[in-house]
Symmetry: C2
Subunit: 514 residues, 2 copies
């Protein structure tokens, strides 16, 4: 399938793709995860049926609002929903039935075909943090993000072996006008990385720009035939679909591009304070959003999203890595699979202000849960700090390293003859050791996952080397990654066309800063 | 059952127990975890059968060594094993059959009956770090542990809500003679805590001292009738049972006290470099060890232990929180359940020298895996640092706080009418918020787990308060815990008898420092 796509793309005009293919061995990237372990399921069938029944009740009795969007209301009416003002009440079963045309799995193509990803089924695709207005690093502390920071993150993403996806708004380039920054961000993803990326969603016109730039990169026909972007469409929970996000989603669905339809929920604020209640609302919202995407274009690729966290009821602050967030993530995964949709959730979530132990506990809790919950697309898989307000350079590198552990876990346990190691046990016998035995010599290189950031040295060596903590170790690794970074090869004509497009678009409008 | 035990104990002479009962509300301790979530199982039946078959082959063809232990060899011979020198070859099926008399679940009694724990079935009992010769804190750095440090840890354990067990050698009190320190450690557990504890295993005579001190604390008849200690018996992997550990185990089994029979494995060194090979050896070792405990006394309570980690093949250092360690922990849990034995594994494992992000990633990976693997007794659940060489005060507090998240996860998802929250969804409707609604007001206090260490405040508040990292936050909490610590009430006569026993024992022998 990837091969066919590559051929197709070549015909479609992608000299860039051909070039990338020839040089793609320069930077090692792991294949997206194909799980060989089961999903962890916390809800039994009875509980799932209660939640599914209640979600239909929510859609039928309470309904959802499509704000400032007469076209959406018309579509819903035509499909058989009851429309009153902006409220859409969806008869029991209709939304689920409409979701049936969405694919259960799809390929998102990268300009380097080796880096295309399968989203759905048993796969897990890892993408970096999305959205922070601030960045933090060990030298400069916390500050507003710039387009230079953005480019650095894209380079780090390109160099991160366990990261499959370049992401979208890795940080907000606040030094570029609001109405123009999507152009610079897309240009960075397209030129500095050859991994798949996300499109802009902050206005329908910016979504159209994203499609047009993709057409330059991949060729018009290829974009028409294939998903080359997966973009993040947040629902205004509870039960509200605003015109900006829906407008962007409409553009992407019409162009056959993928959207993550994702409730954005801090439990206790935008959803009930209980897990089952939150799952009910999440399911109702996703059912309505995905159904609507299929009304726009049946067969448009979409992902069942769930960004859900809990709240600290003392301060109102969102909290991360908590057991309730885990319950929701596990439960929503089950609901997504019963609906036959790819599933997006989890990430390197934390509330900590620093990339310290708090950040790592919270992040590890969330990453592990994401793998076991059957997540297919994990946005925010590295670099998230301070409740998503900050993209941390060092944490990006630390988290991206931990993603390697997820790859190892997902492999499952081999029980072939080599793995059984009976010869080794016979050779060594009681009281011996395995360090030098034949089986160890033959297998040690691939036997254990090895961090490229963490320190395993003896105390004395570690002390002599400066007694560095994880942040300092990550910074050293980050510097090495950036020093060895090379821009992936691109057809000069494509690059020129992209630059010209961005220049022309920027010249066509005044700067807007809100 | 707990009530009956309390009555029995009162008859048995425990004035201390009666007193403790009356005052036991002073410090809040969570009940041991009773899981309401499934176990995560990575091995299918075919893989399990291969490993079980291979383990029997190891016992039959290779056998195990019982070193310096003629009595053990005689017992094995009488049971039908083939004994040559110190090598014991166990016919296929015999070890498993002997394991059949070990209970699948047992109660370990605490002097405060409210703190007695059930070990086995769906339970998870959490106990602190065991064995480090060093301690570390933010003020003093890394230094040799003393008996004062030990007492401070026991106090912190007593004050830790989510810790069910006072543990054993929380750190090595290196300022006390090797042959006497067990007396001071036991005295600290017995007087400064009213949670259950572990006995000494470093010599059979010290195990006997542990039983005698327990008889003073609980009454002789009570100790004869009930498990009041769960002690750690390590196997010298591969396949070797030394006389010191076996000698201690024999004392405990004869006294009806519980032992954890635990291979101590750094994969690639003391076991094959593959997961399936390691599981095979672990199972063979536990089968032989548990079978032997039942030869000593049929029905003696034992736990299937697995201390297993991976190795960094570049440096030879043990590594923690790795995917291979997780695979082994999940797999060994399945093997233990098929054998019908309680299971010990996982812990706050990390290789980091500091309680930093590395420590927290590694620890969170291991704690989460321990919960989902069905572990019944988790030693080292808090405070472990630097591959077990160091007990960290701040990490003890940080980890013990994270254990609260495990309690939350284990609860599973309620789907009763209150949890369904349909009234709340109706009340709030599209575009509203849940902060003030009736359902939130009624349920928010118990809805979400809340850390008592981590910082959830806004950046500005956190900055004004000193921009503290997790270690500083933990230190502040530790100081509060120690400031509010109160010794649990104890019958003065019992205390006097314990002190007299320790004094008399110490006077009876010269100091030994190795």
């Amino acid at each position: 399938m990837a091969e066919a796509a590559a051929r197709k793309r070549s015909r479609g005009g992608g000299g860039a793709a051909r070039r990338a293919e020839r040089t793609s061995t320069a930077v090692e990237t792991a294949k997206f995860i194909q799980r060989n372990i089961p999903n962890f399921e916390v809800l039994n069938d009875e509980a799932l049926e209660i939640i599914e029944h209640n979600a239909e009740t929510v859609l039928e009795e309470i309904g959802v609002n499509f704000v400032n969007n007469p076209a959406a209301l018309a579509r819903w009416k035509a499909a058989g929903a009851e429309v009153q003002g902006e409220r859409v009440r969806i008869p029991r079963g209709l939304a689920r039935q409409l979701c049936g045309t969405a694919p259960s799995q799809f390929t998102q193509h990268a300009r380097n075909p080796e880096r295309s990803v399968e989203i759905g089924g048993r796969s897990l695709v890892l993408a970096p943090v999305y959205g922070p207005p601030f960045v933090r690093d060990i030298d400069g502390g916390r500050r507003y993000a710039t387009i230079d920071d953005f480019r650095t993150f894209v380079k780090l993403g390109q160099m991160s072996k366990w990261l499959h996806h370049s992401g979208g708004t890795v940080c907000e380039p606040t030094d570029v006008a609001v109405n123009k920054r999507h152009l610079d961000m897309l240009l960075a993803h397209m030129t500095l990385s050859d991994k798949p990326f996300m499109g802009s969603v902050t206005e329908p016109s910016r979504a159209r720009d994203s499609v047009e730039m993709s057409e330059i990169l991949f060729g018009k026909q290829f974009v028409s035939d294939n998903a080359v972007m997966t973009s993040l469409i947040n629902i205004n929970s509870p039960l509200t679909f605003d015109d900006v996000m829906m407008g962007a989603m409409e553009v992407y669905a019409e162009a056959g591009q993928a959207s993550i339809i994702s409730p954005f929920i801090v439990g206790g604020a935008m959803a009930p304070v209980s897990v089952a209640g939150t799952l009910t609302q999440v399911l109702a919202e996703v059912l309505a959003g995905v159904a609507y995407s299929q009304l726009v274009r049946a067969g448009a690729p979409v992902i069942f999203g769930a960004f859900v966290t809990s709240i600290d009821m003392n301060s109102g602050a969102p909290t991360f890595g908590t057991p309730e967030a885990a319950h929701i993530t596990y439960g929503a995964g089950q609901l997504a699979r019963r609906l036959g949709l790819p599933y997006r959730s989890a990430g390197s979530f934390c509330g900590s202000k620093l990339p310290d132990a708090q950040a790592a506990y919270e992040t590890a809790n969330s990453l592990n849960m994401g793998l076991l919950a059957g997540v297919n697309f994990m946005l925010h898989a590295c670099g998230w700090l301070e409740g998503g307000l900050v993209a941390s350079f060092e944490k990006f590198v630390m988290d991206a390293d931990q993603l390697g552990a997820l790859h190892g876990l997902a492999k499952g346990i081999a029980v072939d003859e080599t793995a059984q190691a009976m010869d080794a046990i016979r050779e060594v016998g009681p009281g011996g050791h395995y360090l030098g035995c034949a089986h160890t010599q033959a297998n040690f290189k691939s036997a254990f996952w090895r961090s490229e950031v963490l320190d395993y040295k003896p105390f004395e060596t570690w002390s002599e080397e400066g007694a560095r903590d994880t942040v300092a170790l990550a910074r050293a690794r980050m510097d090495r990654m950036l020093a060895t970074y090379e821009e992936p090869v691109m057809d000069p004509a494509v690059r020129e066309a992209l630059l010209a497009y961005v220049a022309q678009k920027k010249a066509s409008m005044p700067d807007a800063f809100s």
